[in-house]
Structure formats: C-alpha cells, structure tokens
C-alpha cells in the first residue's frame, strides 16, 4: 500500500502536469483549452504539498514510528519543539520542505501575474519543471517510507523475529548536536533560501531564451528574500558552530558551510549587477541573468554537498542516491544556460558606445562582480577538487596542511580589493572622479605598504601554528602578509559608507531615502563582519585542558597565564519530559557531582553492567562480587559490590538496578578487587544480593551535565555562567559558556563531560567576535529596508 504522504506527492505531480500542459499548449499552439485550469491546478499543487508537510509534522508530533524517517530523527520523550524540528533534521524532510516552498512561490506567481504576460507563463513553466523534478527526488527518498521497508526489518520479518506490522516503541532519537534552538531554525532558513531562488532563476532563463523584458523585476524581491534567508541561514549555522560544536569560532571553512556560502556570494554579485541593469537595460544584459542562473546551479550544488556524502565534512550524514539525480539536474541546467548565454553573447551587437575609459561606474561595478565570482570560485574550487581527486584517483588530499589556510590566503587579497571597490563605488561621483581616484590610489598604496609591516603574530596565517611550517613556499608568502593591511581599505570603506549614508539622508523623498539607508546599513554590515572575523580569529587566547578536580568546588584554581576558574556548582538534569528517576534511581553523574550529598546514604542506581569481578574474601564472608554499573550519564561507571556465599553470575551487558549504601574512598586487601590500597574506589555502592534486581529504570535519554563556574584573570572575575555537556544514545554535544562583555570580548568555556572526578575545561578569550554578530544583524536590517521600498523598474 502506498502511504498517504506519497499519494499526496503523486497527486501534486499530477496537477502540475495539467498546469504544465495547459501552459505549454498555450505557448506553442495558442490553445486556450486548459487555460482556466492552470491557476487552480497550481494552487491545488501548493495545497497538496502544504498538506503533506503538515502530515509529516503530525507524524512527528504524535511520534508515529511506523514511518522510518520519524523513527530515525525523533523519540517520544523529546520536547515538542524538537519533535517539530525533527521534520527537517534529515535529507528526506528537507527535500519536502524545499519542494513545498517552490510550490508556494509558484502559487504566488500564479496569483500575482494571473499568467497574463508571456514572461509570467514561461517563468511558471520553468518553476513547475523545477518543482516537479524536486517532487520526484522527494519520492525517491520519501520521508513517508514505512519502517517495515527497511532492509534489516524486512529480513527480520521474513525470519519471523518481527511481526509483519512491526512498529518500534521508541524512536532512534535526534542527534544530540541538533538538540539546540539554533539548529531548529538553521535548516528551514537554508532550504527556504534554496527554494526562493527558483523564480529569479526561472525568469533569468526565460530572459536568456526570449529576451523577455521585466524579468529582473519579477525576480527582484525573491532574490533579496533568498539573500536574506540564505545569509541568515549561514549566520545561524555559524552561531551554532560557535555555541554548540565548540569549534571556538563561527567559521571553519567546513565544506558544507562553504557550499552554502558560494551561491550567496554569486547572488550578491547578481544583486549588484541587477542594480545597474534595471537602470539601463543594456548594462550587464548577459552578466546579470548568468549570475542568477549560476546562483541557482550553486544552490543545487550546495544541496549535493550537504546531503550527498562525497565531501569530507562534519555534516556528512547524507545518502548518495538522490545526489545523482541532483547532479543530472545540474548538468542539464548548466548545459542549457551555457548554450543560451553563448547565443545571447553572439547575438548582441557589439555596441560602439563612446569609450569612456576604464574609470566609470559600470566598469568598477564590473570589477566588483568579478571579485564576487573570484571569491566564489576560490571557495568552490577548494571544496571541490579534493572530492574530484578522491573520486577519480581514489586519493585523499588536503587543500593545505590546515584546510582553513587555503581559503584564508586566497580570499584575503581579494577581500582587500573588494573593500577598495566598495570604498570607491559607494560614494562615486562623476564630477569628483579625479579627486576620488587620488584617494583610492593613496589607500591602495597604504594597503600595499602595510602588508609588509612586522608584528608579533598578526599575519594572514598563524605563524605559531604547527601547520605553518608545513605550508609550501607560495602559501607562506601570502601567509606572511601582515593583516594590518586590511585596515586602510576597511577605514576607506567605512568612510565611504558614512558619506553615502549622509547623501541618502539628505534626500527629500522618502522612498529613495529608506532604500539608500538600507544599502548603507548592509555595507556597514560588511565592515563589521570582516572586522569581527579577522580580529577574533587572530587574537583568540586559548588555554586548553584546564582540568579542574570537582573536589575543589568553591575554590579558585589557577590554570596558568594568570587565569583561574572557580567551580560554583555541578548538577545534572534530563532534557526530556519523561521523569528521570521513576523509581528513585539517581543518575551516576549526579552522584559523582555531589558525593557529599549521597555518601553514607542509601542510593539506587540503574544501568548496564560493564565489568564484573568476583573476589574470594577472607572468612566469614566467602565471595564479593563487584559490578560496574554504567547508565550512560557519566563516562566512567560506578562500582557496586555485594557479598554472598557463592560467586554471583552476572554477565557484562546485563541491565541492573542496585540499591545500597554509598561509601566513599573504599579500599580492599583482597587480590583481584578493583578497589585496592593503591587504586581506591572513590565511591562504591554496597548492596545485598536481594537489592540487586534485573531490568533498568533508565534515566532519560538526553542527559545534561552543567557546571556553573566563574572565570578569573589576575584574581579579578571576568566572566561567569554555565557550561553544559549533553549526552544521549545518539551522540554527545557541548554547550559552551559564552559570556559577552561590552567591549565585544567573549569569555568562552567548553566543558567536555565529567570524567574521573575531573571537570575538563577549555578556556578561550575571544575578542571582537560580537562585531560579526552585529554585522549580521545589520545585513538583515539593511536588506529588509531595501525590500520594504518597492520602486518601479524603468520600462518594466
């Protein structure tokens, strides 16, 4: 039987075919037979996909583990928000989200244009084709696949070990790294951004094909929307890396984050091209549509990188079956756009406009476009060629001895040129051109001179890093550039942005004023982000492996370099809704965390036996059985011991619940005991055989250890907060303490889980990182201001 969700997708495909046939027959033969059906069919398609997404969400909320995808990414005890975010935790769900948004934009196109113009109809055809292809991809890897179709389940049903209508009772659970607010918003931002790129792309293809006017206006708001969503998605991914992965930075040139950054760069290029193209249709008449198409192709490429699993990345959790389908899609679009682009290029009459020399706005803008293309290419090449070598030659290669070095050295010079172009263009004035050129040359001169300044360690590449020595000569040469060289162009760009803001604010009419302010704010954002990124990555001070014994709770412990950490409190809790201790069992990490509370008291622990030792003891007792119990909340388990007349036959791997008396610092003289005079057991539970029962009252499946601590520098408190460590059966995650100060410096402490009575911490002092966050917020504010103003395109 076909699941309901798949039926909805097939139905969506069917109505799209009706709409498509209607549109095409009208285009080619001018048959208006199906005319009345087109818009309703498209809206029905959007409705069906909306319904299927709601259905998937419903399955997640009610933990319907009959569906493989729900089982894989959810569990019944998760809080509601993580059940909902489970819908986009995996490949299948994100495809559905993507295609749903494509259909919503198709419906928008149908309702706003009513398909009156040829441009609208043709754009709709391309949009629908894209949507249908994505539905097919979704169906190939359907989120509605039943769990009984899983190969291993099929096997077990065939063998009779599982009933044919098998439904698991508990879900596999969400990856601990994804149990986080930022991860609930990151995937939808990304995939909505991917989807909203469809209309600008479709319109650009139509324009390349038939020179239909008004294409830029049709796609304009969508392109801005994509820019915002993709940008924010990347930024939120950075925040997540910073706050959860404990990378200690927000950008590591991981293939996946880089892959999404590439279309964002070309899209930025497109928006610059479009801003001149809309004023004069002859300007960038090929560059603008090509950039839109390229951005869409790169979006598809990013989807492959994220999900296909051929790239070496921290994200690599994909499956390659749909990767091939996406690759075919990319191949077709690339081929079509190259042919169309070439045709347009040779058709275009070589305009014999007067030669205004190199220094005019169009040319400088063109250089800017090329810079975006160059930066995009560097990133594209850096993530692609190692994968290419691996596929073709079976060799694993790195791009540099440290991956990020490759991207940093190659991007750095072009970033400076980009800032120079920003400084020159944003405040460009035809009348003061000569004056402005002079300023530009001075700044260029300063940039070059400052490249050679020597500092302690403020270079493009970190000379103190162990990777530095292993880089080849050329990389060392660029890596030797002093980062002071960023400042002349940065100050120039800032000054120019301020000037342009002042000009815009002087404008009387309200619309250009708001739009101009938006443009200025976005460019301030650029400066803020670059400043934050460069300063924070160059001046972060790290003290690794500050291992604080838990015993020293309340005391200031020196960790070197004048820094100290005081642990205020340690506690554990369960993230999930199920009661942690249904029958009074205490989690082992809780016991290790607060031994004074539990020692010399009765405790109940519950978990898996990881170690068994039977020891013959001196009379009157004959045997002592030691059992190490591990409940997964603490890296090391807890010993329990009981005495009986004969050895107790407990196997490792058994689940037990043990109740007994907790004794600190236990030593035994018997040989074979795990607790000896040399290695005493810090804590041990003494129990009687009757108090050991089989079966477990497992603590919740998502356990959080939190350390409340204070950070000191030269005995002065500089930060405080809570660092957390989350452990679950599907992995663990760190949630560092991040204490921001007004100066923009973050106190950043990573806690890697209690082990052996030690709290392992890493302290980082990260300056200026908040500038990057401010810059991202400025990006959002600026583009929203630009979007808020709807200006008419000339001749559009």
């Amino acid at each position: 039987m076909i699941p309901l969700g798949d039926i909805l997708l097939y139905a969506g495909l069917a109505v799209s075919v009706i709409a498509l046939v209607g549109l095409i027959s009208r285009e080619i033969k001018n048959i208006e037979l199906l005319n009345k059906l087109i818009t309703p069919a498209i809206i029905a398609g959007a409705g069906l996909l909306t319904f299927s997404y709601i259905l998937l969400t419903y399955y997640f909320v009610y933990s319907n583990f009959a569906y493989d995808y729900v089982w894989q990414y959810s569990s019944a005890d998760l809080p509601l928000i993580y059940k909902i975010s489970g819908t986009w935790a995996g490949q299948q769900g994100t495809y559905l989200l993507w295609v749903w948004v494509v259909y919503l934009s198709a419906a928008w196109l149908a309702l706003t244009t009513k398909h009156v113009t040829a441009l609208a109809r043709r754009t709709q055809i391309i949009t629908l084709l894209t949507g249908m292809y994505l539905i097919i991809i979704t169906l190939v890897q359907s989120p509605f696949k039943l769990i009984i179709e899983r190969p291993e389940v099929v096997d077990m049903i065939a063998k009779g070990t599982l009933p044919p209508d098998f439904v698991p009772e508990v879900g596999n659970g969400l990856n601990a790294l994804l149990v986080n607010f930022w991860m609930t918003v990151h995937p939808p931002l990304m995939f909505i951004g991917y989807a909203t790129m469809t209309i600008p792309f479709a319109a650009a293809i139509v324009y390349l094909f038939t020179k239909e006017d008004g294409w830029e206006e049709l796609g304009r708001q969508w392109a801005r929307f994509t820019w915002l969503f993709l940008g924010m998605g990347i930024a939120v991914g950075g925040v997540w890396a910073y706050l959860v992965l404990g990378w200690g930075g927000f950008w590591a040139w991981d293939p996946v984050e880089t892959a999404s950054f590439i279309p964002w760069l070309t899209l930025t290029g497109f928006m610059h091209a479009a801003s001149l193209h809309r004023k004069n249709k002859a300007t960038f008449s090929i560059a603008a549509p090509i950039l839109a198409v390229v951005s869409f192709i790169l979006v598809l490429y990013a989807a492959i990188v994220v999900r296909a699993g051929i790239f070496n990345s921290v994200h690599a959790f994909g499956d390659s079956s749909t990767g091939t389908l996406l690759l075919v899609f990319i191949g077709v679009i690339t081929l079509v756009s190259i042919i169309l682009g070439m045709r347009r290029y040779f058709e275009e009459p070589d305009k014999q406009e007067e030669d205004r020399g190199f220094w005019n706005k169009t040319n400088i803008f063109y250089v800017t476009l090329l810079l975006f293309v160059v930066l995009a290419f560097i990133s594209f090449w850096g993530i692609s060629f190692p994968a290419f070598i691996q596929i073709t030659q079976g060799l694993k290669v790195g791009v540099a001895s440290d991956t990020k070095n490759f991207f940093n050295i190659w991007s750095y010079p072009f970033t400076i040129i980009l800032l120079l172009a920003l400084g020159f263009c944003l405040n460009y004035n035809e009348k003061e051109k000569e004056e402005q050129k002079k300023t530009l040359f001075i700044v260029i001169g300063l940039s070059i001179i400052t490249m050679f300044l020597r500092t302690e360690n403020f270079y493009v590449l970190d000379h103190a890093s162990p990777f530095w020595a292993r880089e080849p000569a050329l990389y060392k040469m660029i890596g030797n550039i002093s980062v002071i060289s960023i400042f002349p162009s940065m100050i120039y760009a800032t000054w120019s942005t301020i000037q342009s803001l002042r000009t815009y604010l002087r404008i009387e009419s309200i619309k250009p004023k708001i739009k101009g302010t938006g443009i200025a704010i976005v460019h301030f954002g650029v400066v803020f982000i670059l400043f934050g990124a460069i300063i924070s990555s160059n001046f972060t001070h790290t003290i690794e492996s500050a291992n604080i014994p838990l015993d020293s709770k309340g005391q200031l412990v020196d960790i070197g370099n004048g820094y100290g950490i005081k642990i205020i409190d340690f506690s554990t809790h369960s993230l999930t809704e199920t009661k942690n201790t249904p029958s009074g069992a205490v989690s082992i990490s809780e016991i290790y965390g607060n031994p004074e509370k539990y020692a010399s008291n009765n405790v109940k622990i519950s978990g898996k036996v990881t170690n068994v030792a039977n020891v013959q003891s001196p009379p009157p007792v004959t045997y002592t059985t030691y059992l190490k119990i591990n409940d997964g909340t603490y890296t090391d388990g807890l010993w329990a011991a009981t005495q009986a007349n004969s050895p107790l036959e407990y196997q490792a791997g058994l689940e037990l619940t043990v109740e007994g008396f907790l004794i600190p610092n236990f030593k035994s003289n018997s040989t074979g005991s795990p607790c000896t005079a040399v290695t005493p057991c810090n804590l041990i539970v003494f129990s009687s055989p009757e108090q050991i029962t089989e079966g477990t009252t497992a603590p919740g499946s998502y356990n959080v250890q939190s350390v409340r601590l204070e950070v000191y520098q030269d005995n002065k408190k500089i930060g405080s907060g809570v660092a957390e460590y989350l452990q679950s059966k599907s992995g663990s995650g760190t949630f560092p303490l991040v204490d921001s100060s007004i100066t923009g410096t973050d106190i950043y402490v990573i806690f890697q889980g209690l082990g052996g009575g030690i709290v392992p911490l890493t302290l980082k002092i990260i300056p200026a990182v908040n500038f990057a966050w401010i810059g991202i917020v400025l990006f959002a504010i600026g583009i929203i201001l630009i979007m808020a103003v709807r200006t008419k395109s000339k001749g559009g």
Partner: protein
C-alpha cells in the same frame, strides 16, 4: 565594452592558473596517504570494521584492552591530538605495548561510528577484550588528561 572583455579574459586566465596551481600543490604536498598510517601520528592502528574484529581477537588472546580512535581527514583538531596527545612518549609507549589499537575513519566507517554513537572526531573509546565500553574520551584532550586514563584501564583489564 573592450575594457570589460579584456578584464574578463585576464580574470579567467588567472582563475585557471590558480586552479592548476592549487591542484598540483595539493597532489604534491598534501596527499594524505593512509597505508602507512603516517597521517595517524605514525602509530600503527588496525583499520576499519574488519580491523576491529581482528583487534578483539588479539585482545582476547593477549588480554589487552582495545582503544578505538575515531578520526577524519578534515579534522583540524585530530592532527594536533595525534602529535601531542597520542604521540606523547609516555602515552604512546603504553598504547603501543599494552593496547590493541583500532582507528576508524569517520567518512568511511560510518556504520561503526553510528553503532558506537560517535558523531565527531577526535573521539576515543576504551573497551575490554569482550567489547564492553569502559570509557569514552570525546574531543581533543591533552596527554596529562589521557595518561592516567590509559594507565588505569590497562591495570583494570590486566587484573
């Protein structure tokens, strides 16, 4: 128009040059040859899922604990972890003499990683010869932190 064309051609040529240059540089300098474990800090590891089985057999015969190391080629912390922590003379000596070492490439041995709930590198899992997990050490810890752990686990298993 001419200026634009000229600039485009120059940029295109430079990009191709860049692509060629970085490609050959990577092949020449940054091939991460795996066979001799040079990337794994020069320590001999059993590799992949088959290596794990083999490792347990040896561990049972010689009554040694098993240390499973999860790494990845793109893992920036792994390189330092291998030289400074696993490569620390004291740690390395104990590991090579008293442990059965198995390394898992997170990109290739995904099933093993999933089975042991490992989601990021570097990550160590210590097990007794029967395969019971004794301790998990996630992240790039330093030698001072790891040394007592490897000593204790060795002694525990020997006992």
């Amino acid at each position: 128009m001419r200026t634009k064309k000229l600039v485009s051609i120059i940029v295109l040529v430079l990009l191709l040059l860049f692509a060629y240059l970085t490609y050959t540089t990577a092949l020449k300098n940054f091939t991460l040859s795996d066979k001799n474990s040079s990337y794994l800090g020069g320590i001999k590891f059993h590799r992949a899922a088959s290596g794990l089985e083999e490792g347990f057999q040896i561990a049972q015969q010689e009554n040694k604990p098993v240390m499973m190391y999860f790494w990845a080629i793109w893992c920036q912390y792994c390189a330092g972890f291998q030289t400074n922590t696993l490569g620390n003379t004291q740690v390395k000596k104990i590991l090579e003499e008293d442990y059965v070492l198995v390394a898992m490439d997170l990109d290739i041995d995904r099933e093993v990683a999933q089975q042991y709930a490992v989601s990021y590198p570097p990550y160590l899992i210590f097990m007794d010869p029967k395969g019971n997990i004794l301790q998990r050490v996630p992240g790039s810890v330093d030698a001072n932190y790891l040394l007592p752990i490897v000593t204790k686990i060795r002694d525990d298993v020997r006992r």
